[in-house]
Amino acid sequence: MHMPLQDTLGLNLLAANQHQADHNRERFDAWQLLCLNLMSSPGAGKTSLLEATITALAPQLAMAVLEGDMTTQLDAERLEAVGVPVVPITTGRACHLDAAMVSGGLRQLQARLSPADLDLLWVENVGNLVCPAEFEVGEHLKVALLSVTEGEDKPLKYPVMFREADCVLITKVDLLPYLPVVVERFEEHIHAVNPAATVFQLSASSGEGLPAWYQWLLETSREHSQALNNPTIASGLPAPEPVAV
């Protein structure tokens, strides 16, 4: 006779991924670098934004990219062309990066350079507004992109992604004159599901709005390294010098 038993686990369903993500973050902290997880639907402009950002900020920040792509290395080639180390992570059929894939990417990165020499590591996630929101990879902050061509309702349709993002970038604003949308509605819907989100409007092709985004990145990177060096002073920092872009 078998006695029925019950064990209480109380574990996160994604505990296995979370353990690896925590481990990745410990390594980022030991290397004193800031890791940002860049997420959006396919075609929202993640790679174009990285091309512009890396080109503009390369004199001030040492950067590298872990580039998630389902089947090709096209994006990785584009980013290599702007002169930054890129490790392609081909996910095959998986629609998101997970912490183990990023850990594998880190091993490849370490074979090429010393991560402690980096200030900022970009993780460009697979284009998808659903599951990347649930799979942490060890990032310090999540940045979500929403292009104006996608429509004003997307934050309401994919609320988990926009709720989880620390920063939301409304991209391709140079196309606004050609679209029947109101840019304020994008911002309104983002803040409806995530009032705390930092939001920027920009266009990687026209350059509109990029200086404010660059300023935020420099400030965030600076605050992050100061917080790591002195955990008791994590806020109340003086504003950094304005960036010439």
């Binding site: 064990d7 686990l9 574990l11 996160n12 994604l14 599951c131 609320p159 819907h189 599901v193």
Partner: protein
């Protein structure tokens, strides 16, 4: 189909739990989960992938019992608890404030496991319940 990867995570956690019962192999009848409505998880897809994944394994024959947890938020204007609705842009009906404090709906939790252990003369049958580390 990210539920496949979620199922893999679940199986890894269950594998770890199983090791705590060695040398016994627990015969699992049900795994209980809590899944919030404000997550990217579709319970039916999770049940489907779990059933496919456990075939022929030590978990064969077990079922996945999923309790869904509604999305609820607290209005920071008047402290009322409300159910945010997408067609109301998730705003509080009382003060029309944005969705600030979520109090439930983000759960993705492995709650408990129902199982039995075959009696073995060499090691007495365990009873009661044990807790694994929670996070």
């Amino acid at each position: 189909m990210h539920e496949v990867d979620m199922t893999k995570c679940l199986l890894l956690s269950l594998q770890e739990w199983k090791r705590e019962h060695e040398p016994h192999t627990p015969c699992v009848s049900a795994v209980h989960l809590e899944v919030g409505d404000f997550t990217c998880v579709e319970p039916a897809a999770l049940r489907f992938t779990f059933a496919a994944a456990v075939q022929g394994s030590w978990l064969d024959g077990s079922t996945l019992e999923i309790a869904t947890v509604p999305l609820r938020a607290r209005c920071l204007g008047c402290s009322a608890v409300y159910v945010p609705e997408p067609d109301q842009a998730y705003r509080s009906p009382c003060c029309e404030r944005p969705m600030e404090e979520i109090i439930s709906g983000r759960e993705l939790r492995i709650c408990s496991v129902d199982y039995s252990l075959s009696p073995q003369p060499s090691s007495p049958r365990s009873s009661g319940s044990t807790s694994l580390s929670s996070r």
